[in-house]
Amino acid sequence: MNIVVERLSVVPFGETTPVLDDVSFNVSPGERILLLGPSGAGKSTLLLTLSGALQTLESHVFSGEVVAPASGLLLQNAIDASVGNTIFRDVAFGAESAGIETARMSELVTSALKQTGLDLPQHRTIATLSGGQLQRAILSGLLTLSPKLLLLDEPTSMLDEGSAAQVREAVALYLAESGATLLVAEHIFEPWLPLVQRVIVLDSAGRIIADGPSAQILRSHRAELESFGLWLPGSASFAVESEVAPTANRGSLVALVGPSGSGKTTWLNGKLAELQAAAQTEGNRRIGWSPQNAALTIAGNTVLASALAGTQAADTEAAALLERLGLVSHLNQDPHQLSGGEQRRLALASALLAQPDTLLLDEPTVGQDTFNWAKIVHELVAARNRGMSIFIATHDSALLAYADEVLEIPAEIAVTENALVKERRTVLTPLGAIGSGLLLLAGSFWLRSPGQALAGVATIVILAALVLCFAVLAGKGKKLKSNLSGLRWVLLGLGSVFLTNWLLSDSHDAVQAATTSARIAFFALPAYLLARLIDPAEMGDQFGQILRLPARPVVAAMVAFTKLQQLNQTWVQLAQVRKVRGIARGGSPIARIAEAKDMTFGLLVSATRGATQTAISMEARGFSATDESGHRLRRSWAVPARISWLDIAAWGSAIAVTVAAVLFA
């Protein structure tokens, strides 16, 4: 099937300037095409439109015609694009959307993983994969559906060279085997050249300015491509000179290298903690820090205000630095509206303006064009020459030429026991835990007399003790201890329930209040303990397959729970950044509430940005796929849900305990 794009224009909703302007081209099956253009030229928009994912967002107005076969879309940020908590679940997602029966799933996933050469246990958690491994896992998921068209949107720009090569190899292998069509957009495009035959060039207004055989276009349009700031073959090592001569106390620039996911970020975080501890004892030592997610450093409503927050720098000094970093036309813009690359430069500006003694940067040059890359390096070299110690985690080999020292962080992350999800982790399933907890809550309303409440709570305590003894005997004592430490808050809460129901009542009847708190203990103690047993992925499987709740919301919730750990890290980093920059508020309850509001806002903006990417990734794996008559395909489930005998025993005991307690008095 040919791809036909005819007079395609795409305008973001509510705006007048198109991202793509009157774009037309045809692609024959099996052609391999590289998309080139400056940042913001609409390359992503074109790829997302061809995949059909952008249309579902309803955030753009389209005109013209597009016809394309079903495709597989690979995005830049693999973490946002992942949708399962384990390799198996993530790879199987597309097959589930297509309604492929559970029995065939395992074979399909295994063969797709073989195609991309990802030789890891399938129940390994996504969170423990390196960036390159994760990108290959996602590619495997696309291959389960044998797409006739691969759309790659900067798939390796966040990866080190070794991992990027593995992704490219996997793509090349699939293309050779399947004869599928390829469209790829990539910043550093040289390594893709052997794979493509044709280049389409877009300009900053989203118009096609060249379309033809790759070698010919790269020759005939070299000057234009250079003026776009593209990384042309051979341009990667141009010199950046600094007018700041090294002083006597010249600082140092240390580059941390190693495969993505090897622990460069962890190393930086460790350094940060060390410096913070030192700053507390020695005082008067300033730290600058820009994490990989540079958006987290935003503070204030304008670019200028955000750069200045927490610093003593003058407005003019800040404006001059922002100009040198190519942000002068954005000074009064909302910093959230900047592109990712611009946000990285803003984060660098705000860190530099604080005049730190030590500066920690995580991947400051990702996605920068040659001009902005040179601006960043220029500032770093000048700061180093003035005496600053700079540590940079990076996979950008061009940057290494400016480093005084290169620290190699070893490759493999230690795979702890937690990295593997056992498919049958607990014998009591989420439905068993939730069901019995809710039965006890409902049953508690029949416990009216002091005797009944006492009998109820006594039975629960005895039962819980028996279960706990059993667990200790089964060798789960260590895990239990950490869970039980939270029980003191439950006991404290029960104490408070007793006191308030006693003191704030009319009768001041202590027996009545004790009955109430015993009744609450009857359901609250098990409710607390049972909550520990719930695994969100298994809960989703049960809700979808056993309770037959609608699959789409259940699956969306399961996907969201896979982001829990990442969002938790974002929260911790937000707090860190604000502390390092000196903009965290504290002290009075009012100041703390204001701080909570700012942090919640920061987290939500980051979460919604990621959510849009996740939604696109799900659409690209057929989440809304329909049959010929337009009916949504019926989803299948990769992991069958089950109910254990312990679940039934737990429901039975909940009822039995209630009945026994009611009859007792």
């Binding site: 907890g437 809550l441 308030t500 006693w502 919301p553 729970f561 806002f601 903006v605 980051s606």
Partner: protein, 200 residues
């Protein structure tokens, strides 16, 4: 196969993928944030309310916030319930004191918002209606708490308890949730949503 389908028949009440995923991930994020408050907000506020616990109900709105945010963001039936239930599940997973019972609270805390916006036929989303939704959800939650947690309070204490809950529901959940969605829209994070388009 991909095409540009310009006049696809769409129900205003049908959830798009981006609605489902954004509401779910926002809910998880709010669950994480609430848990994060444990460290620096609750101790300060808790000390403040210890002398007269019904005042503590002034915090109730925080727990209703996901319902309002979900509804003002997605604007479709079930948005408050979906968002609130997921946020409650996050609390449960991260380890909260009252375990599985938060799921029952979640139903009560979503009910008021769902009812108010269903009556408005999902057409009006001003700050006033959001505040009313938050307050109405607080009424449901406080009635559940009367029954389950504080049955022995005297009438006057129950009234103060209700008053604090309702104020908090209207101000923190209603107005606060509405303002959060507004500032997310201003930050350009909601271009795929009606809430994001209104600010342009």
């Amino acid at each position: 196969m991909t095409t540009i389908n310009k006049n696809a028949p769409k129900s205003a009440f049908a959830w798009r993928t981006v609605d489902l995923v954004t509401a779910a991930i926002v809910a998880v994020a709010l669950g994480v944030a609430f848990w994060g408050y444990d460290v620096f907000v609750y101790p300060a506020v808790g000390a403040f309310t210890a002398f007269y616990p019904p005042i503590g109900e002034l915090q109730l709105g925080v727990w209703i916030l996901p319902a309002v945010v979900g509804m003002v963001l997605v604007r479709k039936p079930g948005a408050a319930l979906f968002t609130e239930l997921i946020a409650a599940n996050v609390e449960l997973l991260l380890g909260n004191t009252w375990g599985i019972t938060v799921l029952v609270s979640a139903l009560a805390q979503a009910a008021g918002v769902e009812i108010i916006f269903a009556l408005l036929r999902y057409k009006k989303f001003s700050i006033g209606w959001a505040a009313l939704g938050g307050a109405f959800s607080a009424v449901f939650e406080v009635f559940y708490e009367y029954y389950a947690w504080v049955p022995d309070y005297s009438v006057i204490n129950k009234l103060i308890y209700m008053l604090c809950g309702v104020i908090s529901g209207a101000v923190i959940a209603g107005a606060g949730g509405w303002a959060l969605v507004q500032s997310m829209a201003k930050a350009g994070a909601l271009s795929a949503f009606a809430a994001g388009r209104e600010t342009k």
